[in-house]
């Protein structure tokens, strides 16, 4: 039931989804700022502890996520042409790469633990583990969303005019990818 007093384009929904996007950006923004702030106070510690990170795995994961984002972009293009099946395939590919990311990351966590890196070893390790675990959870969440979208694409529930779900789900995945790129640069690379 429409509220008659609503102006045509000021749907409350738009505002609401932006609340969540704002919340996500805020929390990652605050986390990254906190990291930068902590680093400024402990430059040597951070530089030293950073050496223990597996940059190769980090770089591989960056490649994996960027490629998966490309797949998601292709999926969106496909559905804009009304090709639900092709859209589903691209999304499945993205999900497959997501699995690769999770596997590589889990292996990396396993290695870290074996080298005695925990949340309580030092401030850098605390940030590194918190940030990457928090991001890991977002990848999981993103994969759940993509899986639902892929299912619906295969089931023919999207069309040329009506595919908002693909765009929303795709946007979330792109956000997750972007966050990783920033994270990789800040935590793994910058000295």
């Amino acid at each position: 039931m429409e509220n008659i007093s609503d102006p045509p384009h000021a749907l409350p929904g738009d505002f609401a989804i932006w609340v969540f996007i704002f919340a996500e950006l805020t929390v990652f923004g605050v986390l990254f700022s906190a990291f930068a702030f902590a680093r400024a106070a402990h430059v040597d510690l951070f530089n030293q502890s950073q050496l223990a990170l597996n940059r190769g795995l980090g770089a591989a994961n960056t490649l994996v996520l960027v490629t998966s984002s490309y797949f998601v972009a292709r999926a969106t293009r496909a559905i804009k042409d009304g090709r639900g099946l092709l859209c589903g395939h691209w999304l499945t590919g993205a999900l497959g790469l997501g699995v690769v990311f999770l596997a590589l990351k889990l292996f990396e966590f396993h290695q870290d633990y074996a080298h005695g890196i925990t949340l309580s070893t030092n401030l850098f390790d605390m940030f590194y583990l918190s940030l990457t675990f928090f991001h890991f959870m977002h990848v999981l969440m993103g994969m759940a969303i993509l899986a639902v979208v892929a299912y619906k694409a295969y089931a023919g529930r999207y069309g040329v005019e009506d595919h908002a779900g693909v765009e929303t789900g795709g946007s979330y995945w792109h956000m997750v990818d972007l966050v990783w790129i920033i994270l990789f640069a800040l935590v793994y690379v910058i000295r």
Partner: protein, 141 residues
């Protein structure tokens, strides 16, 4: 972004978000649970410490005092009272309550035996050695 944000989407974000953070909290709690016995020297929790803790609970000490900043704000912080005052003072103080001084905040008289007082002191001593991230900021609590 073309958008129709439905109630169902909002509901899913609520459910997904709650589950998401609950999992993170469980993981952190697991780690915390492993760390706590190290940080609070659980190996030093002797029967006397345990008995002292039970006395502190059943006499509602935190109904007036705080322990690690938690409780009521009527009387001093007990986390570091052992370091601030020492065993002898603490026992003598408890024995001599209430002060009866006009207008001053009164502490009840607890009929503790010598053994019970020792247990309470043991607990307070154990408390003072818990790693509380440098809190309180000074000896006054």
């Amino acid at each position: 972004m073309q958008q129709v944000f439905t109630k169902a989407m909002a509901r899913n974000i609520f459910l997904g978000g709650a589950a998401f953070f609950l999992i993170i909290y469980l993981v952190l709690t697991y780690d915390t649970w492993q760390q706590i016995p190290v940080r609070d020297h659980a190996d030093k929790m002797t029967p006397a410490v345990v008995a002292g803790r039970y006395l502190v609970d059943t006499n509602d000490c935190v109904g007036c005092h705080t322990i690690n900043g938690e409780g009521a704000y009527f009387a001093p912080e007990l986390d570091n009272v052992y370091k601030r005052r020492g065993a002898a003072f603490i026992k003598a103080w408890i024995r001599s309550q209430p002060t009866g001084v006009a207008g001053r905040r009164q502490m009840p008289h607890f009929n503790f035996s010598g053994q019970q007082l020792n247990d309470i002191v043991a607990y307070l001593k154990w408390l003072s050695n818990v790693d509380t991230n440098n809190w309180p900021p000074n000896i006054q609590g």
